[in-house]
Amino acid sequence: MISFIVRRFLLALATTWAISVMSFIIIQLPPGDFVDAYIARLSASGSSVSMEEAQSMRTLYGLNQPYYVQYLKWVGRVLRGDFGESMEWQRPVAEVLGDRLWITVVVSFAALLLTWALALPIGIYSAVRQYSIGDYAFTLVGFIGLAVPNFLLALIILYVAFRWFGLNVGGLFSTEYEMAPWSWAKAADLMWHLPLPALILALAGTAQLIRIMRANLLDELRKPYVVTARAKGLSEMRVILKYPVRAALNPFASALAYLFPYLVSGSIIVSLVLSLPTVGPVLLKALIAQDMYLAGAIVLLLGVLTVVGTFISDLVLMWIDPRIRHQVDT
């Protein structure tokens, strides 16, 4: 069991490192550097910067040095909590991001929990009551989740709600709480608005997981140990919930672990469509404006969030499967 945790932890570290490298590459990709953009902005507003000033700035920020040195310096600063400055906003990146990162976390985790809460019972039901009306109905909903990309779904729902109900279902807060400081009331307002975005985000993954649970459970239901359980005299419900569901839970949980990056990813676009105050809209604007420290920081943070979420899912998987705990090769 320990070796499993250690392995997954090392993998998480490796992934984080890979993400940091990729984020750094993204920061460096656009032509020119921080100082060029600074100069461009200053000259646009009328002032200018001399060559010597530009050079000293470059030395100050270490922009003359080879890339790996810059990378290490950047990582060093990041680990101390300094993500650099946003040129668009003229403020430290951390300030710009503010609550947005936490809200991204909340939305992503809400979608994850919703996926669990929906896919597990529906998947079980679909397998046990195969070919029933409920099964077909869920299959249909599943197709919608499968076929319609999340941002399109958000768009369609937005339009339908507006056209037929006159509602604007975008945003995560009612107008009065948007700018207000945090309070219980604001948190409650958030909870009230959370289900719809979380559902839109979760639908595709839920559909996929229902199929996985249904397929695996159907396989397990045919196996001998289910017959044994029935032969002992257990009620049908107990037979199904205690044994085959438990066995089918493994592939379900590991599929769920790999869903998290997709949820974080999806939240970006969905946030744009629904105007949610997450990092998504900020990332897009930053990329278009080539505000690279902001963009790179967001990519890094999103990556770290994903890695943490996946690692937690791995721990849950380990807790579920006794074979991992006892080091048996599954």
């Binding site: 045919r222 196996k223 017959v227 002992k232 005299g233 499967d321 006892h326």
Partner: protein, 360 residues
């Protein structure tokens, strides 16, 4: 024509007691409606299990023996259904119940499973769930029929059961997972689980097929000891004639879903009547045979389940078939004194036997 109607030798065999059978199956028919056709897995089987006796059901793979076992407990795999017949279970102090009439999910059926009739399976590895300890799974078998028992009592009883079946150091084993036990120990654990609620009938579906020979012997010894100790009635299902010879009191020979012959074990082995039984016995390799003599086989192969032959199911492979009779009609079991019966047109019953009276 070589074959002739044979007269039944009046065998005064050591018959099993003629008291009330504890389990009585009449004309059981179990059908599986698959996409590709209808499979008549059991097609009119009748036999009785007497209290305290071991009845062996023997036949090749696919003849329907396992399906019969599952039908008794109504745990047939989908899409199997009991379409005809009766399964009478005799209960002390209560009126007998026809299991075939009970719904598979009914509480009455759940009350019978594990408590009155228990089943042990061929493959102990896959028959246990890998996610729970054997203590958990055996304890569950106890608790489901003893709802008032508390955790400690259940645990103590589980330990007793593990000791009973000869598992060493039960205090350690009780918290282990099935994959941590060897094949023989797992099978013993399965037997312990089956005996958890003191059932009166034990059905053993190929209990030793998946085990090596030495373990096989140990498990069979255990079964026999337990059976004597507790007066269990055992339905032993196997394809191994050696196991039958060693364990069974009575035998029923099955082919393509029908019982072709049944009777006490001595009679079956020494005076088999049905051509299939004779062929089965002939095909057992023997240390007494002449060296380098050919192994006897049964001609032909088992027909495809969707392609059942008309008439007697065995006739395409039978060396003594009667053309015009065996390929048209299905022979019904003919009682031959006491508990013996054979389903074959070769045997024309005496008037006495036809009325079911023992020949005398």
């Amino acid at each position: 024509m070589a074959c002739a109607m044979r007269q039944i030798p009046m065998v005064e065999s050591t018959m099993s007691s003629v008291g009330t059978p504890i389990l009585s199956i009449h004309n059981l028919a179990v059908h599986f409606a698959q996409d590709e056709g209808l499979v008549r897995a059991v097609d009119g089987a009748s036999f009785d299990l007497h209290p305290g006796k071991i009845l062996g059901i023997v036949g090749e793979s696919g003849c329907g023996k396992s399906v019969t076992a599952r039908a008794v407990l109504q745990i047939l795999d989908h899409p199997g259904r009991i379409v005809d017949g009766e399964i009478w279970l005799d209960r002390p102090g209560l009126s007998p119940v026809d299991i075939a009439r009970l719904g598979p999910r009914s509480p009455e059926m759940s009350a019978i499973r594990g408590k009155e009739v228990a089943l042990i399976f061929q493959e102990p590895m896959t028959s246990f769930s890998a996610h729970y300890t054997i203590g958990n799974q055996i304890g569950e078998a106890i608790a489901v029929h003893n709802t008032s028992a508390d955790r400690d009592r259940v645990r103590l009883r589980t330990l007793d059961l593990l000791r009973l079946v000869g598992i060493p150091r039960p205090e350690r084993r009780i918290d282990e997972y099935p994959f941590q036990l060897s094949g023989g120990l797992r099978q013993r654990a399965m037997i312990a689980m089956a005996l958890a609620c003191d059932p009166r009938i034990l059905i053993a579906d190929e209990p030793t097929t998946a085990l090596d020979v030495t373990t096989q012997a140990q498990v069979l010894d255990l079964l026999r000891a337990l059976q004597k100790e507790r007066g269990l009635s055992v339905l032993l299902i196997t394809h191994d004639m050696g196991v039958i010879a060693e364990m069974a009191d009575d035998v029923a020979v099955m082919y393509l879903g029908r019982i072709v012959e049944r009777g006490p074990v001595d009679q079956i082995f020494h005076a088999p009547r049905h051509p299939y039984t004779q062929a089965l016995l002939r095909s057992i390799p023997s240390t007494l045979a002449k060296p380098r003599s050919r192994l006897q086989t049964i001609e032909g192969s088992i027909p495809h389940p969707y392609n059942r032959p008309q008439g007697c199911p065995f006739h395409p492979r039978c060396s003594e078939k009667i053309a015009g009779r065996c390929d048209r009609d299905v022979p019904d079991p003919v009682l031959l004194g006491g508990e013996s019966a054979v389903s074959c047109f070769l045997y024309q019953s005496t008037p006495a036997a036809a009325e079911g009276r023992p020949a005398a």
